[in-house]
């Protein structure tokens, strides 16, 4: 069994970046970016997720199978959102109520 042991420095660095990103996302919410504010918030959240997953959850040392499992979960979440919004975002296109 070959465990890849990361250094304390790596973990600490990731930790500090995460804290900084939290501060950034909070601060940026008070800036008027129009429709982009939700995009910025989500991008920061995704970056934070990647940091936690790659470093703290050791995805960067993990097997292909584990990565496949994670990707699968995210893709399925995406399917759920995408196809439901296929309904909600096209309502009213025909101009006939309820169609």
């Amino acid at each position: 069994m070959h465990e890849q042991v990361d250094s304390v420095k790596t973990y600490a660095l990731v930790w500090i970046v995460l804290l900084i990103l939290t501060a950034v996302t909070t601060a940026v919410a008070y800036v008027d970016l129009g429709a982009f504010s939700v995009v910025v918030a989500l991008v920061i959240a995704v970056v934070k997720m990647l940091l936690v997953a790659l470093f703290f959850m050791h995805i960067r040392h993990s097997t292909q199978l584990t990565r496949l499992v994670v990707m699968g979960g995210l893709i399925w979440l995406f399917i759920l959102l995408l196809l439901t919004f296929a309904d909600f975002s096209t309502r009213g296109w025909t101009g006939v109520p309820g169609r």
């Binding site: 009213g92 025909t94 101009g95 006939v96 109520p97 309820g98 169609r99």
Partner: protein
């Protein structure tokens, strides 16, 4: 037990289209069912085990066959999809000159209102040969307006409007069913559609003693709810004028535009602050709980009846084909 039909009546313009698609699907289904059953029977008998010791020759598969029996069904299904979708699209687009009727579903009855003011419960009288458009909503749970002879069905959902339409082709009396389970007396939420010759329909319309057209009732409601205090016809009030609103594109305060259809008007009455017209303040109180779904429909019809504003931009109006009978 009386009569014992095996096929439903065709009584709308869309019914033969749906049935033709059914015949196609039936043909495909029967073909493949016979093919599979036939193969199974033939193989099972032809290659029955004759000795416990026999070991058949190994066949692993055949790519050509796999491709063949993937591609052919795929082609057939795409025909089914396109054909079905085109019928559906037709079913979703009521013609502009359709006769407007309003329906409210409620545990466990159908309440129907004609523009002329007639109201019916669990019965709907309509003229032959003219498209009929139903704008529907529910007071409680989800119902579904289903007329088998017309091959149409559409859910009736609380909190929003839905639409269905049909053009009857045969005079007679047809089942109206609620097709979405709605509680204890779901199977009692049925009624009849009476398709009448146009002359008989006119007689029927004039036969009752309605209190006035639906728009008139809407107008009375408009007064009694004091809507007219703010919504002045000339636009001088604190709120936008409603004259010529229906069918027009409305500029909203958040920059979006929206077409003023039945759903928009309903929302604006019940949740006035959901969409604010550009240049106006969110002053209007909600009328949720103060006006019934039937009342809202009357208001919608009243606002529709206010007609296009003189000089309304082209292409943004609802064509008015039916002369007002008032």
């Amino acid at each position: 037990m009386g009569s014992f039909p095996l096929f439903p009546e065709q009584a709308s313009t869309i019914a033969p289209d749906v049935d033709h698609l059914l015949y196609f699907l039936l043909a495909v289904a029967v073909f493949f069912t016979l093919l599979i059953f036939g193969c199974i029977f033939y193989f099972a008998i032809r290659y029955r085990r004759r000795s416990e010791r026999e070991l058949p020759h190994v066949i692993h598969g055949g790519l050509t066959l796999e491709i063949l029996w993937s591609v052919i069904p795929f082609g057939l299904t795409m025909v089914m999809f396109s054909w079905g979708a085109s019928i559906f699209f037709q079913e979703s687009r009521p013609p502009a000159n359709a006769l407007q009727i309003y329906a409210v579903g409620k545990q466990w009855m159908w309440k129907l209102q004609h523009i002329e003011g007639q109201r019916e419960i669990n019965e709907l009288h309509i003229p032959l040969g003219r498209p009929v458009r139903l704008t529907m909503t529910s007071e409680d749970v989800i119902h579904s307006f289903f007329v088998p002879a017309f091959r149409t069905k559409e859910d009736v959902v609380p909190g929003r409007y839905s639409t269905t339409w049909f053009q009857p082709t045969k005079p007679g009396k047809y089942h109206l069913f609620c097709a979405e389970y709605c509680g204890t007396r779901h199977s009692g939420m049925i009624g009849w559609i009476y398709v009448m010759e146009p002359r008989d329909y006119e007689n029927w319309l004039n036969g009752g003693a309605p209190t006035g057209s639906l728009a008139d009732e809407g107008a009375r409601l408009f007064e009694s709810l004091a809507c007219s205090n703010c919504h002045k016809p000339d636009g001088s009030g604190r709120c936008p004028t409603l004259v010529g609103l229906f069918g027009r594109n409305v500029q909203l305060s958040n920059g979006a535009t929206i077409k003023a259809d039945e759903g928009y008007i309903r929302e604006s009455i019940l949740q006035p602050t959901a969409k604010i017209v550009a240049g106006y303040q969110p002053l209007m109180p909600t009328f949720q709980g103060l006006v019934t779904e039937e009342g809202v429909l009357q208001l919608v019809e009243y606002i529709k009846s206010l007609g296009p504003r003189p000089g309304a931009p082209a292409g943004a109006s609802m064509p008015v084909v039916v002369p007002n009978k008032r």
